[in-house]
Symmetry: C2
Subunit: 241 residues, 2 copies
């Protein structure tokens, strides 16, 4: 902390300092960071330099600016990521948030692939959640979720009915862990246990598998997740330049 390379441009060093403070929860998501004038004064740089530093944070998605109101730490919205990949919508074209049903919750020694994905030492204890997501009672998504137990103990013991359909808010409220970014890898496979029964699909039906590794503000992995959906519900749109 506070260690800066003097060769870097001023605005870069300022950006890094602000980013580190966001990572340290000096300001929490939704809160405003100091104004341009304040930052310029406290760091003894010109306002223009502060503006450039903040602009890079905006480009990186770490903060949002609103004219006349201030600059705010951004809370990433992952709800939309589901809809980027899968077409869950009602007959009128509206998105529906699938309900959530936890089928299994257990603590265990992390299996090898999980340990590797979460970058933990061999033998570390982890939490496994097996989750079914439904729309109008129909299973549309099956998820296996892995968390390092040390950071997420409350998730293992808390009442399931307090967890809600979205996990990330629960992570923040009960474990103080905030998801800042994620990587997803998408493949098409034949469905395998235990996802086949959860989705009530015949063996080896084509499914889309989304592997997501979620990171905290400090950059370390927080959660590894494998989600599985029938291939017919998959649709992805992208713009290329």
């Amino acid at each position: 902390m506070g260690n800066v390379d003097q060769r870097l441009p001023l605005y870069q060093r300022l950006r890094d300092e602000i980013a580190a403070q966001i990572a340290s929860h000096v300001w929490r998501p939704g809160e405003a960071i100091p104004t341009e004038a304040e930052l310029a004064a406290s760091h003894s740089v010109a306002v223009g330099t502060v503006r450039k530093a903040i602009q890079t944070l905006v480009d990186e998605g770490l903060v949002e600016r609103f004219q006349g109101r201030g600059t705010f730490v951004r809370r990433p919205s992952f709800d939309s990521s589901l809809f980027r990949f899968l077409r869950f919508h009602g007959p009128e074209g509206r998105h529906e948030v699938p309900e959530s049903k936890i089928l299994d919750r257990s603590g265990l020694i992390g299996p090898d692939p999980v340990i590797k994905a979460l970058r933990l030492p061999t033998g570390t204890e982890v939490i496994r959640l097996l989750r079914q997501r439904l729309i109008k009672g129909w299973p549309v998504l099956a998820e296996e979720i892995w968390l390092p137990r040390a950071r997420f103990e409350p998730i293992l013991t808390m009442p399931l009915d307090e967890m809600g359909a979205l996990l990330y808010p629960a992570y923040e409220r009960f474990c103080g862990e905030i998801v800042a970014s994620a990587e997803e890898t998408l493949t098409v496979e034949g469905v395998a246990a235990p996802f086949d029964t959860i989705l009530s699909l015949p063996q080896a039906s084509p499914v889309v598998v989304i592997e997501r590794l979620a990171f905290g503000y400090h950059g370390g992995p927080l959660e590894w997740r494998r989600s599985c959906a029938p291939a017919s519900t998959f649709r992805y749109h992208i713009e290329i330049r």
Copy 2:
């Protein structure tokens, strides 16, 4: 052309003017646009304003800047788009550019979905290319490509062996049409004719279908393409914030 809304910020109007000139091929891809100082003088604005206008063009992927050299019109590279979606690589992990074999080339009245995708009036003539792409003799990709005949007549008549493995350079060289951007939509389907035989897959095997609509610098659609690959070769990676 030259029609600008006086309410827009200076740097926006400047951006639009430069973008329009790029679209009009005042400078072609790879060429340098005027320096910051020249643009500032010719438009009677400060250099800082020019910088901001150019920065937005950089963010949009229209130009590239190089310190000490200049600012250059960017040529989008679509070769990489293939590899974003499909894992074609040799045993050593290196990417391989698949060879290309044109199975059919014909001019015809545009079928309804093609006409709609390319936004042409009903009854317009189009060119259809059916293409097989192979790695080490194995078919890995099947493509159906549709072009408005009026703009792409040379593609219909030129010798096939002058076309090469990449179509976009051919479009530019023989038809003067430059692809500036594209949209892709990705779905998983059961393979259907004529792609099943081209890929030598059993009926209804799972395949990834990539529909690409490519646009020119003026914003209108130039090419519509449906590509089809066995689902097992599909892999997509994305970062989320």
